[in-house]
Subunit: 219 residues, 2 copies
């Protein structure tokens, strides 16, 4: 765990510049030098942070996915997934920087069909997301993380999230389709629900106090 906050920030900042340049001129017309220049650092710094040019967008993807994971981790056990999304997801509930990041992500996803290099980075980020989901599902259903069924469920759920993200992004950017937050949330929740091979979307194993009373969700 590299825990320098400053370092992570530089990394993310570089990632934002890379994403912007990739969108403006395409991946192949953006060099490591360009990214460095845009961020005002030495070229060498770029290669210290990223193992390849394309992977420079991964921190941006990861950052979005981490915020989503954080929401899931605070998910009270007695709440259904639709209600969770309804009360926690939406542009009005985000910091401006996070919103800007998500817009960048959406525009990148809309480019996946033309930019295979971006797709590789996106799929790698989804793999990280999948590993986070393993933790979440294992904990939520009281199963070990190595459990095959837990891993299977995490993979199918992550696949659902990925497909919704890709679909919504493409619809928004390429076809100018305006979807409301409520619709996207509904869409996402339904897709996850259909995809999940284990029942972790509905209220799960409400925890009981020693005295037999129901433990409130906030605990």
């Amino acid at each position: 765990m590299s825990r320098s906050l400053a370092r992570e920030n530089t990394r993310l900042e570089l990632s934002r510049h890379a994403a912007r340049l990739f969108l403006e001129r395409g991946v192949s017309d953006t060099s490591g030098d360009d990214i460095a220049a845009a961020a005002g650092v030495a070229t060498r710094t770029v290669w210290r942070h990223f193992r390849s040019k394309e992977s420079a967008v991964e921190p941006l993807f990861a950052h979005s996915s981490l915020r989503f994971a954080a929401i899931l981790r605070r998910w009270p056990r007695d709440v259904a997934i639709e209600d969770l999304f309804h009360s926690t997801l939406g542009p009005d509930k985000m910091a401006p920087q996070d919103l800007a990041d998500d817009i960048l992500v959406v525009r990148l996803l809309a480019r996946l069909p033309e930019e295979p290099a971006l797709r590789a980075a996106w799929l790698m980020s989804c793999h990280i997301g999948e590993e986070q989901l393993i933790e979440l599902i294992a904990e939520r259903l009281d199963r070990p993380q190595g459990d095959f069924d837990v891993r299977l469920c995490a993979a199918t759920v992550m696949a659902a999230i990925r497909i919704v993200d890709e679909t919504v992004s493409l619809a928004a950017v390429k076809y100018g389709l305006k979807t409301t937050t409520a619709e996207v949330n509904e869409h996402l929740a339904q897709a996850i629900r259909k995809a999940s091979t284990l029942p972790f979307c509905d209220p799960v194993t409400p925890r009981i106090w020693p005295d037999g009373k129901l433990m409130p969700a906030s605990v």
Copy 2:
């Protein structure tokens, strides 16, 4: 569609050499020159076939996945997936070269945890497989390929196949676990069945002759 058989063969042959070298010395200690030398071609030829060093293994992955897809495409509509696998999958039903290819794939998959570059290639190959599944499921359930639910189902099913492949490979190579063909088939069929969000695993819409009789599976 580039349809030169010879070209595809060169490509696949290069891919096999790349895979072998990656396994022997690791990805970072294998150069484009090494791959070219091993295959007995000019270095330039390597870069004509692959956009990057790591992507050199994709044709090998794709080749395995194409054979699997071919089996699925011949899947009679009135047969359940377990029975299909039981009657068509297994080392005894494969050409020796195809078996050797699959062994290479299994050994590569066992390396995914240490070799992120290979994982990116693997995930890209799974993406190709996902697109093939879209065609299959759309056709099998008489739905359009653009249908969101078809795409969702393809993604979750491909995720299941991926997880089984990764799990079985890791178990076999790292932990020396011997699994019988029957067990793997069973495992795979169950995972796909659990993962599928649309009912395409069971006999689907048995087709009816104009005279009202059932159309045999072989048609």
